[in-house]
Point group: C2
Chain length 429, copies 2
């Protein structure tokens, strides 16, 4: 992180007092809100780590406004972050909208200079992580997230695109280095070394953190994953696909916040979803009010996780069978019944390789939420530190094994079985 | 290939009659040539497939001038090719010069609009392929090419670069799509399907070509390599590193023509060298004037091939140990004797993975030179078609096994042993 805060001619961070005047100049937004700017109710609600977020409501309707700051909101001006992330977010959001239709918020206005995006207001949606902490069942989620991942990953890969279009996308996203570096540092590096930003439930997990920093096999495994993250441009990733990047109701799912988007390894996105479901599963013991009152929800979490991978796999394969338009595995090489059979076997092998990547990336994302800078409220909201540490110790134990013994997790069922087993076996941190 | 020939304001293809006037306007070149432009001797000598090449000699010295045409020279205007390839060649050549010093020709002048590069005239260097056909020993070559590959691949990889610099290079080369597409089509696709541009020694190899088009395992294997070529941005590749891209004397080696450069998988460059040595080895039987008069040279070819990989491996590892400056495998994760030992084991494992890629890419490059569009004079110059086809059948047989049973070639020695064995076993095509 350099100490230089970016300046940009004309850029002004909005405040609730200035935003009405700005939005009144955008006809589409003005019409949607209705009435006069003075009637609009504006609140800054950003609870994320990086940006300003406003909710604006008028007589006719509402919008959400997201504006990048030239630094990390959570930390302040000591951690500069370029405004260009709004450019990459807008580019990814547009592509995701094209590919998945209603699974992302609608874009109403984009201002490159202001690094500002006006989007459809999602109501009464809440952040999924909060819903899962409360024990809310989302029956449509597995279907929606598997569609989102299958379509965004498949259609931006070499399986669907010509090399020319794919390379153009690689070029278009290659400047999003600052956001990628956050991932490179906070996920793949810091939790495995002494780093100022690391934190964990202390003193309970001090011995775990120390062991993680001395674990050569683990550090080699996470470094291989980092190398893959740095060098494998397989598809356009959301780049931060955890349950805090999902707003939903039981009936409607929207994926938000793709500012970490870049062309990277598919398993990174899929692994993020797997990791966050496992973290939530392990956190449920900490949210019980009476022993066993979360048992049914725990089962739903793991059953949904199984369904997410299974559906993703089926949908991705179906897209590949139906759209063999990319320069990889060209259809002309696999003609006739015999060719199709051989290609189908390779499609299955491709999904196995993607699964292996998914297991490794999921493990990395679990570990960073317990030993690194940014934690999940699934675990953070468990007030009793001993109880929280026990939940976290189970997640760490499973994650380490997933990363080092990846080959022994040959199916999603192998992971959910192991999660149940670890929960039984580890009584306390 | 679109049918559109690129036009560019101000661009004019040079002729021997126009070039003196152009060069007289470039002070550095004018001084180097000496005398008056009327005294300069200019000849067009391009025997490559794509570009114009002139040799210019004046009273004091000489230069080589390379200019891109907006189409493939070998084929004509029916196959357009963008002038931007000179831009990528110049960028790669500059980077290679910085990294390897004297192992590329010196750049004297670059004109982006004219897609024209003026370089040091290499005398009395010849194209290596011609020297190897003539049976010339190059004692310095293994040392030089291993240095070239180790330094260009290591220093442009995530092992040496920060992610930010690496992504900038990915962006800078992402536009070289037309040249990459030639590789994608001619190496990874056409030899395995009916394609107008394919040719082979016929009718002798007709059955081989037909078998190759029906071989499901082979087509899956080459498609996996193609996917890696499309999606693995490991390092800056030369992109066309065969023995026709080397000009040398027994004392001095220069690598030329990096217009196919892009950020791709390291094994593609290393495999190109391996493939061209194996093709030359198999061609030697066709160049014998008396039985056995090439035996010593064959031994030199295989011994040199072994030395190329062995030296490359050692040099790459040494660079990694001495320059742990990249964002991959960060030094901070592998401190102390134990950390260093664990990282060293991983470095060895990394080289094994790179070797596996090398074997596959080498096989692909052998097959394309026998069943695809562009052949090597090593084999083409064997006038007796039966004799040539027998040499080619041996190369094809080894290449198929290398691509499908890659794991059984665990060392360079395994390949040279197999090459000798195949030569003994296959008496005729």
């Amino acid at each position: 992180m350099s100490a230089q805060i970016e300046t940009r001619a004309g850029y002004l961070p909005q405040k609730p007092e200035t935003l009405a005047a700005y939005l009144s100049g955008v006809e589409r937004v003005r019409n949607l809100l209705g009435g006069a700017p003075g009637q609009w109710n504006i609140a800054e609600v950003g609870d994320g780590n990086l940006n300003l977020v406003f909710i604006v409501k008028g007589p006719l309707g509402g919008v959400a406004v997201k504006q990048a700051l030239p630094y990390v909101r959570l930390v302040g001006e000591s951690w500069p972050l370029p405004l260009s992330r709004a450019h990459y977010e807008h580019m990814a959001l547009s592509e995701q909208a094209r590919l998945t239709g209603g699974l992302v918020p609608g874009i109403l206005h984009y201002d490159e200079v202001q690094a500002l995006i006006v989007m459809e207001l999602l109501e009464p949606h809440i952040i999924m992580r909060r819903g899962m902490i409360a024990g809310t069942v989302y029956p449509k989620f597995a279907g929606d997230i598997s569609t989102f991942m299958a379509r965004t990953l498949f259609f931006t890969s070499d399986l669907a695109l010509t090399a020319e279009k794919k390379k153009a996308m690689i070029g278009a996203f290659s400047g999003n280095t600052a956001l990628c570096k956050i991932t490179e540092d906070l996920i793949f590096t810091d939790p495995y070394r002494v780093a100022e930003l690391n934190r964990w439930t202390s003193p309970q997990l001090d011995a775990y953190a120390a062991r993680w920093r001395e674990d050569g096999d683990l550090k080699v495994a996470v470094s291989r994953l980092k190398l893959k993250f740095l060098s494998s441009a397989e598809a356009m990733l959301h780049g931060d696909l955890h349950t805090g990047s999902v707003m939903l109701t039981p009936e409607d799912t929207r994926i938000i916040d793709p500012e970490f988007a870049f062309m990277g390894p598919m398993g990174f996105d899929v692994g993020a979803v797997v990791a966050n479901f496992l973290l939530n599963y392990f956190s449920q013991d900490g949210h019980e009010k009476q022993a066993g009152d979360r048992d049914a929800y725990k089962d739903w979490v793991l059953a949904t996780l199984e369904q997410i991978w299974t559906s993703f796999r089926e949908k991705f394969l179906a897209l590949w069978r139906d759209n063999p338009t990319g320069d990889a595995y060209p259809a002309s090489l696999f003609q006739g019944a015999q060719g199709e059979a051989r290609l189908e076997a390779e499609r299955q092998a491709f999904m196995e390789r993607l699964w292996t990547d998914t297991v490794g990336f999921a493990a990395a994302k679990m570990i960073r939420r317990i030993l690194g800078l940014a934690h999940n409220i699934d675990l953070e909201w468990i007030e009793d530190k001993d109880r929280r540490a026990s939940c976290e110790a189970r997640a760490l134990t499973l994650a380490r094994d997933m990363m080092v013994n990846t080959a022994s997790y040959s199916s999603i069922r192998a992971i959910t079985d192991a999660a149940r087993r670890v929960r039984e076996e580890i009584k306390s941190y």
